[in-house]
């Protein structure tokens, strides 16, 4: 089974990239693949916790629940430290279980683990 990296570069909801990418990550995990979700650039907004029923409020899937599912299925979720700082997001504002890493570590992780790299 290939190791898969799913890169999320968009915030949730404004475009479909985020939830579409997270669906792919979940489906890969359900088939037994190892998956790392990388939140980079505006994608780090996807790591923020505390969403209030997006389905009810704006008729879109709850990406926070998707991230929690991915973590529950033993997927890894990492967020770019520099992108978080730039956006004023503290680590205690993130969904529990997300790992904060420096860009250089994330590049190394992608090169080491990304047998298949899917950018959203």
């Amino acid at each position: 089974m290939p190791h898969v990296v799913v890169e999320i570069s968009h915030p949730p909801f404004g475009h479909e990239h985020t939830f579409a990418g997270l669906y792919v990550a979940t489906a890969c995990l359900s088939k037994g693949m190892d998956v790392i979700v990388v939140l980079r650039g505006d994608g780090v907004y996807t790591g923020m916790r505390g969403q209030v029923d997006p389905q009810k409020n704006i008729s879109l899937p709850a990406t926070e629940a998707q991230i929690e599912d991915i973590l529950e299925l033993d997927g890894t979720v990492v967020a770019d430290a520099g992108a978080l700082v730039m956006r004023g997001i503290e680590s205690d504002e993130l969904i529990e279980g997300i790992q904060v890493r420096e860009s250089s570590d994330i590049h190394a992780l992608i090169l080491k683990e990304g047998e298949k790299i899917i950018a959203f």
């Binding site: 650039g41 250089s104 590049h107 190394a108 992608i110 090169l111 990304g114 950018a119």
Partner: protein, 114 residues
């Protein structure tokens, strides 16, 4: 040797794709990997010489660090960029798809497309 093959469709200054190319290709070179960058569509704009900014500097440095950079001849022509306006060392090719595929399918251990 491990080999990274990147296919870039993003222009150098208005999108993060080209910036990301710089970070990850440098990281690959630091790890001793071979690196080839293929520029297609708006990605060929990264090949323009005399750029001031991160991507232009990276392309120059990439060539110095023995990374291979290829650009689509058709995409350059369509955008009015002549060979003389392209950074020295970049290979302009009429068959970017064929070159990319040969590299990506037969040689690369990692393939990234942005």
């Amino acid at each position: 040797m491990d080999y990274l093959c990147m296919l870039i469709t993003k222009p150098p200054h208005s999108d993060e794709g080209a910036e990301r190319m710089c970070g990850i290709s440098n990281a690959a070179r630091d790890r001793g990997m071979g690196v080839a960058v293929y520029l297609i569509g708006d990605g060929v704009l990264c090949a323009k010489r005399h750029q001031h900014g991160h991507v232009g500097a990276h392309i120059k440095r990439a060539l110095e660090r023995s990374m291979s950079v290829y650009a689509s001849a058709q995409d350059l022509r369509a955008r009015g960029i002549a060979e003389t306006q392209v950074e020295k060392g970049i290979v302009i090719t009429e068959d970017i798809e064929g070159r990319f595929l040969k590299d990506a399918m037969e040689r690369a251990s990692r393939v990234i497309s942005w």
